[in-house]
Amino acid sequence: MVSAIFVNNFVLARFLGLCPFMGVSKKVETALGMGMAVTFVMTVATVVTWFIQYFLLVPFGIEYLQTIAFILVIASLVQLVEMVIQKVSPVLYQSLGIFLPLITTNCAVLGLAVLNIQKEYTFLEGVVFAIGAALGFTLALVLFAGLRERLDLCPVPRSFRGTAIALVTAGLLSLAFMGFAGLVKG
């Protein structure tokens, strides 16, 4: 779990889920909301996909449908989250915008589900791994959002403004995360 948060951070080490990472990291509050949404989707998706994999796909020998089945699950979960957020916090819904439905195609979520199966984690291991990965994603997202809020106040040279400087910052952040390399074996 520690490994998933720090060492193999999805965003900063595996470069998965960069789309929302760049998209919704303009404000800390939004980043926190997104982090929570992703955490929820990741955890539940892992649980559901694990069951589907071992109780549906494997017994019937149709593992080749894995991707489609998983995406189906994730998509419906995202829909659910979207509706809940729209009801509970319209402001957050507004600021997340297009990136909320895009969790569906978020490679981090699918990648996580697939990785879980690949690594042959047990159910519990899988859930722990998922929570770890999601927390890692949230941590990276919130840290990055903080940095970008400060970037807002900086007179960045015109040609680097916007995504360019954000990518440079993300690179430096992932550089710092390299320090955790070798922290936990495996």
Binding site: V28, R150, G179, F180
Partner: protein, 330 residues
Amino acid sequence: MEQVYLSSSPHIHSGASTPQIMRAVIYSLLPACAAAIFFFGVPALAVLLIAVLGCMACEVVCQRLMKQPVTLNDGSAVVTGILLGLNLPPTSPWWMTLLGAVIAIGIGKQIFGGLGYNLFNPALVARVVLLISFPVQMTRWTAPTPLRYGVDAVTAATPLGEWKTAVMLTGRLPEGLQGGTFSYLVGNMPGCVGEVSALALLGGAIYLFRRKILTWHIPLSYVASVMILSGLFWLVDPGKYPDPLFHLLTGGLILGAFFMATDMVTTPVSPGGMILFGVGCGVLTVIIRLFGGYPEGVSFAILLMNAATPLIDRYMRPRTFGVVRQGGAR
């Protein structure tokens, strides 16, 4: 009658200025530079010179390119250069040092808008980029030979590196590492140009304290948390983990705690935030040193906490005068 000036109050100023602060930092680093040249000779001098000149040149080039006024006079490029030089091994080839200088100023600082806006410590950005890109050159250490001229030095491992290798191979603390305290204190050991002489660094730091440019918050909390945490591990298994003094005096802790982690631009502004920053650096340093893949964790720890600085600033604000915290009395 000449027109008078009008401004909003106050009408007087302390006279403090950015160049003044930068000059003081440069003076405070001179003892460490001198010690480095004493122990590592001409190569160390070369590394320092290339780093400083490289940073200054790169600053000028960047600002010219962006058609901004050249602010070499504020001295910040010199400080970055010295700090970068002090953070490299004395054996660094000239091209690597120069590349480091370009990274430090270009990517570390100017791309964010110049002085005051960089998110990460420029010298550390350069050091870490170099460390990851050129692991061989960045970890080739030489034994100190006072007042040496040539480059034909004896290669040796840093105390921290020696410990790490030994623990990896045998799981035990190697003989002969303990008890070198005096050598460690004056700097008679292999290591980066500037990190070896604790005495010289502390001398510079005391000067900065007296000039009121450093406050105690970050250095003290950083050093204290490293000492306490490493002390706990040492008490648990003194055969495997080195004692706190070893942690303090070998490696870049003192350089880091007093000069790198206290870089004003990339650290929190509130006293509480500074303490949190220091503790965070300390904990991360010990974790990376004891359990990570790298023998030294100071640079990474500071960079990571640099990244957390905006969040710390956001959540660690001093209690405003006349505001009673929620849940307090009254």
